[in-house]
Amino acid sequence: MDLAVKDLKRHLGRFLTTVIGVGLLFGTVLAMNGVFRGVVFEGISLIEATNPDLWVVERFRGGPFSEQSTLAEDFHYTVAAVPGVAQASPFIVYPVERDIRGKSTRFTIIGYDVFGGLGGPSKLTAGRGIERAHYEAVAHKKLGLSLGEKIPLGLHFYTVVGLTDNITSPDGEPVVFLSLPDAQEVLFQRDNETVRNQRERLRRSLTRNAVTSREADRLISELQSETHTINAVLVKLAPGADRLKVARHIEDWLYFSVYTSQEEINLMLRGRLAKARMQLLTFRIILLIVSMVILTLVIYTFTMEKIRSIAIMKLMGATNWMVIRLVLEQSLLLTLSSFIIGWLIIHNTQDFFPRKIFLTPLDESVTFGLALLGGLVASGLGIWQALKTQPAMALGGH
């Protein structure tokens, strides 16, 4: 006779309600695990997917993700000439907010050398990579674009030729890959009125400094702001080249800062993502503690409701094991059922979250282990209460 199951069957409605309640709580804990991992996953996905041997950025800058870094585009030729460098490619990355299908949408544009350069989409889920110098794009699936669809960016339309899904910006926004010149144009392209205003300001400035009007007209085009800039140079090392040696050479002789992909990841984790990670980790721990406390209270209440029945059974001579089994079995059934409910909830809703919910078997196993431990601790409290119950409680007073 399984007393624990019989009790739960008699109170099935209450048991199911409790399981759903605690299950939702476990679902939230698992979701927080996923949010935490998702923030890290998305934060470094671009670095991991690009994964060059070295990232060359503006001197003393932690760019291109943790901090702004600006380099002249042609510096990649200089870097390519360094001994040990097999390939050096220009790379530009920046966030934008533009209308896509009539809806203002945030995304990140990545510009790279589409003709064999580094930094392009590492994996396509549909279509092909960019093969032409202009007006082609590879977009993240999250943007909801279809192959062949044209998106307006700046003054031109770009045709989506490929779709990807494994790279997001460090903020979790979808990315759009363009050729480097297209990305620079979208970044620096100004409307005609702005260009006219800027030219006029320059003309006034020059003429105030004794430059003739004719001379000023000639100089204006030269003094326009530089648009051939990039954020980083991506380096692929020659086989057998010493990564550290090449990095030191670039730093010492070309006056840039150089990072490996792992160092870029560390910069992200210790810099831009650090506070978000700590915030989520703290919340995750608090949530887990709250879940454990609630689970303990639920199991303790379940036990206390049966304390008179336990006293009767003890009076009738029930063994301690019989009492322990009653409490322990209910506790484990409750914990296990709730965890399964929580697991099912989060696995069936994760795609509805706006940002990546990255669920890992390790996190789930650890959470399950802790839930089980909490259930055992909770049942320990119930068992202690049950064992110290006096059989005399079953008798009335005289």
């Binding site: 019989k6 008699r10 009738m316 005399a392 005289h398």
Partner: protein
């Protein structure tokens, strides 16, 4: 044969100035099939005596001989009293005290399950007892769906499940009206006679003890008997 013999039993709670002598030099003897009533005002020590007799409370002094074995001698026991309780003692309570999440049948099966009796044999025994108590048609009902009298009859069936040597009934009629109360007492008499089970009943109601073999009165922890 004596089912229970108590000699010079005392129970003292606390010590020094806080000492309370709940029972003082109690001696009584109950034979198999005897029906004994235990009466007394509140605070007279009835519950304490019942707890000592039911092997829940250790007496401070005296001897308790149960079914031929000396269970307690001056506060010491070498027996697994819990095992003795589940194998040889049946309990009937003031209120039915059935396990609320078990059906009437399961409540009768529970003591058998505690002594390792399962399967068809246990089911047959439960059926037999429920029929004996005339509640077989309510076997699959939860206690909450039974009347007070039905609950008490199921409770008696449960007490009989393991063919106990001794039944302890703690105010078994307290929650019943006079007619149902008398019926329960008649049942207890029948059980004592037919099964040769010693029955000790605690009661306040003198009308319920007609035909009992012995009536003991407790006052301030001391026992007076009347035949």
């Amino acid at each position: 044969m004596e089912a229970l013999k108590i000699t010079g039993l005392s129970k003292v709670f606390g010590s020094g100035r806080l000492e309370v002598r709940a029972l003082e030099d109690i001696s009584l003897s109950i034979a198999a099939g005897d029906l004994v009533a235990l009466m007394g005002p509140s605070g007279s020590g009835k519950t304490t005596l019942l707890l000592c007799v039911s092997l829940i409370l250790e007496p401070t002094a005296g001897t308790v001989i149960f079914d031929g074995d000396t269970i307690y001698r001056d506060g010491w026991t070498g027996f697994d009293v819990r095992r003795l309780r589940r194998e040889k003692v049946g309990f009937i309570f003031q209120t039915s005290n059935l396990i609320p999440f078990l059906t009437a049948r399961e409540n009768v099966l529970l003591p058998q399950y505690m002594v390792g009796m399962k399967g068809e044999m246990a089911e047959n025994r439960a059926e037999e007892l429920l029929e004996y108590m005339e509640v077989a048609d309510r076997a699959d009902y939860l206690p909450a769906l039974l009347s007070g009298g039905e609950q008490q009859r199921v409770s008696i069936a449960r007490a009989l499940a393991n063919r106990p040597k001794l039944i302890l009934a703690d105010e078994p009629t307290a929650s019943l009206d006079t007619i149902r109360g008398k019926k329960v007492m008649e049942l207890l008499k029948k059980i004592a006679r037919e099964n040769q089970t010693a029955v000790i009943t605690v009661t306040h109601d003198a009308r319920m003890i007609e035909g009992f073999d012995s009536i003991y009165h407790l006052k301030d922890g001391r026992l007076n008997s009347e035949p």
